[in-house]
Symmetry: C2
Subunit: 286 residues, 2 copies
C-alpha cells in the first residue's frame, strides 16, 4: 500500500463506492469556512489549481473544460433559440463563460449562494472568470431555490443546475418539488440541464430517480449524456437534460457542427455519441 497520508496529497474518499482519488499537491493556497461550506484551493503538481468544497473535488485547471463544456453546450444547442439563460450554482463561473460563447444569448444570470466560491475563482482560476465582464452576464449571490420561486412564469429559455452533489447546500436542488418550480419558469420549448453524477455509480439510483422526477415534474423529454471527468468519482460523469414541450433527444446539429467557438471537448459527434447511451445505462433506466 502506498502512503498517501502525508501533506503532499489531497485525497477524496468515496466511501459508498469503495474508491478514492488523489492528486499530488505542492501548496495549500486558500482555506476558508464560508457560511455555507468549507472551501479549499490547492496548487497541484500536474492538474494546475484545485478547488475543493466540503472535502469534494470541484474542479482543476487541467480538466474542468470537460464538465463546463458538457453542462453548457448540449443544452444550448438543444434549445431552438436560447436567449435568456439562468445558472443556479456555478459560482466558479466556468459554465457562465461557456454560455456566453453563444452570440445569440442575450442575458445570463448566475445565482450562487456562496460568494466565496466566485472570489476564489477570481483569485485562483482567472481563466474561468474572464467572461464575467460581458454586459450580458449578471452575477447574483443568493438562494437559487428562492430566486426560482420569485421568477415569472415562462420567462427562461435554458435553466442550468450547476450544483454540488445532492448533499449539503445543494440538497434542495435534487427534489421533485424544485424541478416543478423549474418547469414553471421555463418558456415552452425550454430546456433544463442538471449535473447528474457518475454513470458507473449512479445509473440505477440518482440518475434514474432524477429522470423519473423530471418526468413527474411535467417535463416531456429527458436525456442523460455521459462524458469523461477524471477528477470526479469513477472518472466518468453525466448531465441530464429535460425539455418542456420539446425533445431533448434532438439538437441543432448544423449549428453545433459549424460554430467557431474554441472548444476542447464538445463536438456535434460528441453530443450525438453521448445521446446514444451505453446499453447498461439504458437497462438501468428502463
Amino acid at each position: 500500500m502506498s502512503d498517501l497520508r502525508d501533506e503532499q496529497w489531497f485525497t477524496e474518499v468515496f466511501d459508498s463506492h469503495g474508491s478514492a482519488f488523489s492528486l499530488k499537491v505542492s501548496e495549500k493556497l486558500l482555506d476558508v469556512q464560508s457560511p455555507y461550506q468549507h472551501l479549499e484551493v490547492y496548487a497541484t503538481e500536474t492538474y494546475g489549481n484545485l478547488m475543493v468544497l466540503d472535502g469534494c473535488v470541484m474542479l482543476t485547471d487541467r480538466d474542468n473544460f470537460l464538465y463546463h463544456e458538457m453542462i453548457a453546450h448540449p443544452a444550448l444547442f438543444t434549445h431552438q433559440d436560447p436567449k435568456r439563460v439562468v445558472i443556479i450554482g456555478g459560482g466558479d463561473c466556468g459554465t457562465l463563460k461557456e454560455v456566453l460563447r453563444h452570440p445569440d444569448v442575450e442575458k445570463v444570470t448566475q445565482i450562487d449562494i456562496d460568494e466565496e466560491v466566485t472570489k476564489a475563482a477570481e483569485r485562483f482560476f482567472p481563466e474561468l472568470v474572464e467572461a464575467n465582464g460581458d454586459p450580458r452576464a449578471e452575477l447574483l449571490f443568493a438562494d437559487g431555490v428562492k430566486w426560482v420561486d420569485d421568477a415569472a412564469d415562462e420567462s427562461i429559455d435554458v435553466l442550468i443546475i450547476d450544483s454540488t452533489d445532492p448533499v449539503g447546500p445543494a440538497e434542495g436542488l435534487f427534489k421533485t418539488d424544485f424541478l416543478k418550480r423549474c418547469h414553471r419558469i421555463l418558456k415552452s420549448g425550454g430546456v433544463m440541464v442538471q449535473q447528474s453524477e457518475s454513470p458507473l455509480y449512479h445509473s440505477g439510483s440518482i440518475i434514474r430517480e432524477l429522470r423519473n422526477d423530471m418526468r413527474e415534474a411535467g417535463f416531456d423529454s429527458v436525456a442523460t449524456l455521459p462524458f469523461p471527468q477524471p477528477v470526479y468519482p469513477s472518472g466518468w460523469w453525466s448531465v441530464t437534460l429535460a425539455g418542456k414541450g420539446t425533445s431533448v433527444e434532438n439538437f441543432r446539429e448544423e449549428a453545433a457542427a459549424s460554430h467557431e467557438m474554441p472548444l476542447q471537448y464538445y463536438t456535434v459527434d460528441a453530443h450525438r455519441g453521448a445521446l446514444a447511451l451505453p446499453p447498461f445505462m439504458r437497462k438501468a433506466f428502463a
Copy 2:
C-alpha cells in the same frame, strides 16, 4: 488528508501524472511472483475482484467490460470480413471472449507470455474465461514478439495488442520495429489495434508517438478511440487502430447496429462518437 495507508485499500500511484486511484479491499486472494511479473488478486468492496500486475491495476469485475468491448469490437467491425484473429497479451481472456462473440470469426489465437495470468483468471474471474472452450479458440503461453516473427506473411485479419503498459514485459510491443513485423503478417485489408493509454495524460506523448510509429511501419490509416475506464489512470483510456490497405476511419456500421451480442458499452453510436476525436486530441496529434 485521508488515511489510505492501512490494509483496507489498494492504491496505484501514477507518479508521473501526480494522481492516484484507490479501491477498498476486503481480502487478498492471490500473491504470485511469476517469471515475468508480480501478480496479485484482491476482493474489493464494490468492484468485485481486482487483478494487479507489478502494482498496476489490470482489471476489475465491475468495469472490465469497457476495455474489453472497446479493444475488440471496433477492430472487428472495421475489418470487412474478419476470420483469422490474433491476440498478443490478453491473458485474462476477456478480449478473447469478446472476439468469439463474432460468429464469422473462424480462429482466434491468444499468445500471452505469462500463464499465471490465465490461471488467475480461471480461478478468480470465471466470467472472462467462459468462452475458452470454444473450438475456435487457441491459447498459447509464449513470447508474442517471437510468435509474430514466426507467423507467415499476410496470414492474419485482425491483430489485437492487449498488453500492459509500455514498461516491463510489454515494452517491446510499443516499438516501431514490432509494428513493422505486425504489418508484415496482416493480410491486405487487415486491422491492428493496440491499447494506447490515457487521452488526458498521453495524447501528446505515447498516443501521438504510437500513431506516428504505425504510419512509419507502413500502415495506411490510423484512428484513436477514447472511452471511459474508471480504474485506469485518469479514468479515461484509448485504443488505437491501424489499417493495412484499408481505412480505419470507417466501419461496418450496419453490422455494428444490427448484431445481437449482449454488450454493455459498445454501440454503433459509441464507435462513431469515439472516432470523432475531441478537439484537444486532434490538436495534440496534428
